[in-house]
């Protein structure tokens, strides 16, 4: 006789806590209102430094464990010093990391063990738009393509469903695919 020991599925995501939060917040809707923030200072040329150290939510202000710093610049071919990723690349980083987090969370919820997840993201952009050289060309990406490579204990359709659900529940995917009102003021 053999004994089969079930190894619990563990992608490092505490879905029980997330489901508990969903339950709790649906009865206390004000606590679900979050504000995310970042502060940016111009350094020199196109180089800027953005810091993220806290956010508000659950009816209180919260500090991150440490201050996160993001240097942004433009590459040398735009006559800049290339001291950081371009802001457009931060958008790509935000999108792909949001979807990757989602893949882990959805897989955990669906009891699917992940072995590895990697993704490549590409955004195509015609820079005639930002250079103001062609009014018919938009400034932003024409399209964005993400390719996931996922090793998991699941069928190809289950993996497709996890990736699709991750898009459905992604904040950054929503920001990128839908319009958002943006207000810019001067202090």
């Amino acid at each position: 006789m053999t004994t089969i020991t079930d190894t619990p599925i563990d992608n490092g995501v505490d879905t029980a806590a997330l489901l508990g939060a969903r339950e709790a917040l649906s009865t206390a809707p004000q606590a679900a209102e979050f504000t995310w923030r970042a502060n940016c200072s111009w350094v020199h040329g196109t180089h800027s430094r953005t810091t993220v150290d806290g956010f508000s939510g659950l009816g209180a202000d919260h500090d991150h464990r440490s201050t996160f710093v993001f240097d942004a610049d433009h590459p040398e071919c735009f006559a800049s010093q290339d001291l950081g990723a371009t802001p457009a690349e931060y958008v790509l980083a935000a999108l792909v990391s949001c979807l990757t987090a989602g893949v882990a969370a959805v897989a955990q919820h669906r009891q699917v063990q992940l072995t590895s997840v990697s993704a490549t993201i590409e955004g195509n952009m015609n820079v005639l738009g930002i250079l103001g050289a062609d009014p018919d060309v938009r400034n932003g990406f024409d399209d964005i393509t993400i390719r996931f490579a996922i090793e998991a204990d699941a069928s190809p359709d289950e993996v497709r469903a996890i990736v699709a659900q991750s898009q459905k529940r992604s904040a950054v995917y929503d920001v990128v695919t839908n319009p958002t009102n943006v207000t810019v003021e001067i202090a």
Partner: protein, 421 residues
Amino acid sequence: MADTTTVIIGAGHAGLAMSRRLTERSIDHVVLERGEVAHSWRTERWNSLRLLTPNWHSRLPGMGDCDADPDGFMSMSEVVALLAEYAEAISAPLHDRTTVTRVSAAGTGYDVVTDQGVWRAPTVVLASGSSNIADVPAMAQRVPRSVTMCTPLTYRSPDDLDERGVLVVGASATGIQLADEIQRSGRPVTIAVGEHVRLPRSYRGRDIFWWMDASGILDQRYDEVDDLVRARHLPSPQLIGHPDRRSLDLNALAATGVRVVGRLAGIDRGTAQFSGALANVCALADLKMNRLLDSFDDWARRTGDVDADAPERFAPTCVSARPTLGIDLGDGHIGTVIWCTGYRPDYRWLDVPVLDRRGRIRHAGGAVVDAPGMYLLGANLLRRRRSSYIGGAASDTADLAAHLHHHLGRNRESTAALIRS
């Protein structure tokens, strides 16, 4: 003021079926109806509409065999005729042309105020329908004035529209049916598609409702469903009850020339902006449809002798590589926007605190929470998946009539105890 035991508000399929159940139990009641029997079916549906469910699924309690083709789909005039005949056959104590203006708590029961007088009753059944008001998003205010707007409650036929293009917002059963008939009328249609439910009309040679019925899905109870709030608010499946039994999905619409775009996300200075997530909502719908078909195949294998053709799979939804992200509503190409963005019930007359913060009635399988003796009928997935369709009224009213009967018994005991003490 008149007294009765139960006031049923609404003489549609649900209210009439409940009337029959109460008569079976000799419970004294009245059925109040603002217009005539089947008022909404008579006055708030488009001309070509037929039920999504085959006739065999539309049996009401106590109704004899019906002459209609069991596999056919009733037109609206057939639904109206059926319900009018049913009201006669069951001798429903009907008070038509009686509009309820207020329901409030009174003692251990309720006062139902109407334009024809007041009823007082220990029990009330809300069967006034779940599609009284078209749910139109606030952004409709930003549609340019040169464009005519309507909802499925006011739309009747393509002939009522001008010759220009039409933007159909929403891809539930309503949205795809209207997109289909308007495109066929020669007006170019754009359909904005968010999350949707794709289903084939027939699978393995049998109607999709046959599979859902036989495999037990329609009997799945509200307390067995994973995410009840979500399940109750899913858009209706992309189906049409057409006599030729065709499937009507986004591929079929695209084949007739309909332009398929993402969810309408906003309107900015006259430009309708569509979500870039179209490919994903289509992928989700395809995956979900295939999971459902897998479950039918599994069920058929387990059951053994299912008389059906071989398993099949349908072409994935074909989405253009670069769906349109925006169209200028003011440039004259679009003449009409039709908001197929869902419906909600009208409870403005309900003066009992039973609504949640979203304006929805809190209920456990039709028994309204914090309002003993008040019942709800005819809502999506009220007690089981079948509840969303006419054919669900038979089992829902059987259950809730029993609950109501039991409640009356308990009420009488406590009143008697009160008098004795």
